[in-house]
Amino acid sequence: MTTAEATTAAVNVDIHSENVLEVENLKVYYDTDAGQVKAVDDVSFTLKRGERMGLVGESGSGKTTMAMALMRLHKPPAIIAGGTVRLDGLSLLDLNEEEMRQTRLRDIALVPQGAMNSLNPVYRVRDQIVDGIKHHTSGDEMPNKPVLSERVVELLNSVGLDGNVADMYPHELSGGMKQRVALAIATSLRPKMILADEPTSALDVVVQRQIMLTLEQLQQEMQASVLLVGHDMGLMAQFADVLGVMYAGHLVEFAPIQEIFEDPKHPYTKKLISSLPDIEVKGQFTGIEGLPPTLVVPPPGCRFHPRCPIYNDDEDFRGEFTDIRGQLDTSLCTTVDPHLNEIEPRRWVACHMYERSA
């Protein structure tokens, strides 16, 4: 039955499209005592096959909620209030629970934030890898025991671990090794898409580099797309092909990584990049003034305007934006929520400064 329905859905696949993931107007809301929180509001983007996307934002910007909603792993009281998510043409939000469960790991797999806590402490690594394979393979396709054993060793080797790790328990592994096991599980069924939520946040830089390079290697070999959620712009610069920037539930900019670092369009991205510390020059350590807004009562109009250097005519930013600000009707900033527009091919930005040219 599952297969039949999957086939019906597959009819809609546009074979000429190289987009693996298409997210359109995704809305994830949740109700709290204080009112409805629009954690993810009208987010759209596309990801190509084999492409690595980074998604950054402050905590509370909705980046993790959005990523989890793509797999329908968002936690209650969060609900998907609208929009579509298509994975290789398959509309994920239209699947029933069982179909969705099958799709996870097989087509879209998660590398969780703290692998330390995602592995089951009472099962050997082997059993945890086999478990995933078993639950996503139908009876007659199920490989026999020796084949499975071989597969486990192969997988462990592919993430840079020795085959004998299969017989170990999670507590016998270091943080980096656990994260490698999590990578092995996530790639065990060669998914089309890997979702990684701050996979290296608890690890030191040397191990982080090893894990990210391993993920890159696997992803390239499988031609899987990756969505890397995080807040470290350095990590994004090292890993991502394209970058999405979220602010207060909106995707405010989406662009190829090189372009966004060289020429950020949205004032928030601009601030984010100009405030990045490096080890070249000392004293370039500044933050973005102000606090992220509460999402219960977001600021009217553009949610960034209270902190926006353009709207507030910040001296440091005046030079660069003089022309464009001259044309900007700043009353729009406080009244109209800007749309995400494609101002150049694959350069999306949600800011009134660019509405004109759109």
Partner: protein
């Protein structure tokens, strides 16, 4: 355990008065005993003085398990050293009387790593801010106490309307951590030991918190020990740095020297692995050497099993801390021939704080 630093360290009495806090050949060993054969040398023979004048900001950097948090706990007097001694204003902290101990507790303030662990979930967050005010008699009235608390909250970028009166679970990790910074600020101590104060905070707020820590140092002359695994923030805010690996101080000195021109192979590996925020400067594709478990039976350099330059002597005996410049020292035999002598106390190669 007995390194060259240990054998030649100066007695505290000679310079104890110049330093607020002084570590003399401090070693901390965990485990051991009758039934447990596995011992972990978490901190190995560290000598370090924190001067009263211009103390600056000292970063202690290293991966998890490097001993940096143990060093912090030793400095705070939370755990006693296995060997060596720690002096506060010239007196051994293990023998302080009640009054001096109280003084020590106020003057050396922690900002801990995990803002989830330090709160009692049954108390509102006001409690963690008000109790030091009451315990140390910082305010004469309730309203004065409240003003103090509000002021310190604002220094770390928190709105008091959104923090006071709440329970810990109602606040984010970032907010909780900033409350801990605010708490440390309240007491205007002489030393702040901040263990990963920004690891759970966003980049934009990170600057705010580190900025306020920096201000405390520059304006109020509070010494800051900044424990971190993040070399970029260490570079940005500190004057001097101590790089640790499995309990050993492998490299130390002026932060610009150590980070921009690292001399120990481990520091070199660390610096190379920093994710630089520049897409045109990506990591080398060659896989860096694999992490290894701590093998404490090795009597030599702890990094030798992973070191691309390891020689026979490296695994036999721990090298001394060689001075490789006016303000830089490295624990590595590669510098034996160009060494300017052995360093006794880590702070001998520190640049004085600005």
């Amino acid at each position: 355990m007995a390194t060259q630093i240990a054998e030649t360290s100066t007695p505290a009495s000679t310079n104890g008065t110049d330093n607020v806090l002084e570590l003399e050949n401090v070693t901390k060993v965990f485990g051991g005993g009758l039934l447990r054969r596995n011992i972990t040398i978490a901190v190995d023979g560290v000598s370090l003085g924190i001067p009263r004048e211009n103390p600056g900001i000292i970063a202690v950097a290293g991966e998890s398990g490097s001993g940096k948090t143990t060093l912090a706990r030793l400095m705070l007097g939370i755990i006693p050293p296995t060997e060596g001694a720690i002096y506060f204003n010239g007196s051994d902290i293990s023998t302080l009387n009640r009054t001096d101990r109280r003084e020590f507790r106020r003057e050396v303030q922690p900002i801990m790593q995990d803002p989830f662990e330090v709160y009692n979930p049954f108390y509102k967050v006001d409690h963690v801010l008000m109790s030091p005010v009451q315990n140390f008699g910082l305010a004469r009235s309730k309203s004065e106490a409240r003003d103090l608390v509000i002021e310190s909250l604002e220094t770390v970028g928190l709105r008091h309307q959104e923090t006071l009166g709440r329970f810990p679970h109602q606040l984010s990790g970032g907010q909780r951590q900033r409350i801990m910074v605010a708490r440390a600020l309240l007491l205007k101590p002489r030393i702040i030991v901040a263990d990963e104060p920004v690891s759970m905070v966003d980049a934009s707020l990170r600057a705010t918190i580190l900025g306020s820590i920096d201000l405390l140092n520059k304006e109020l002359g509070i010494a800051v020990i900044y424990i971190t695994h993040d070399l970029t923030t260490a570079f940005q805010i500190s004057d001097n740095i101590i790089v640790m690996y499995q309990g050993s101080v492998v490299e130390t000195g002026r932060v610009e020297d150590v980070i921009q021109n690292p001399q120990h192979p481990y520091t070199q590996l660390l610096v190379e692995s920093i994710p630089r925020p520049n897409p045109s400067e990506r990591w080398g594709r060659d896989m860096a050497s694999q992490e290894t478990g701590g093998d404490m039976t090795n009597t030599g350099c702890r990094f030798a099993p992973r070191c691309p330059y390891a020689m026979a002597e490296c695994t036999a005996e721990m090298p001394p801390l060689y001075r490789v410049g006016d303000t830089q020292a490295a624990l590595c035999y590669l510098h034996r021939d160009n060494s300017l002598g052995n360093v006794q106390s880590i702070s001998d190669v520190f640049k004085s704080g600005s």
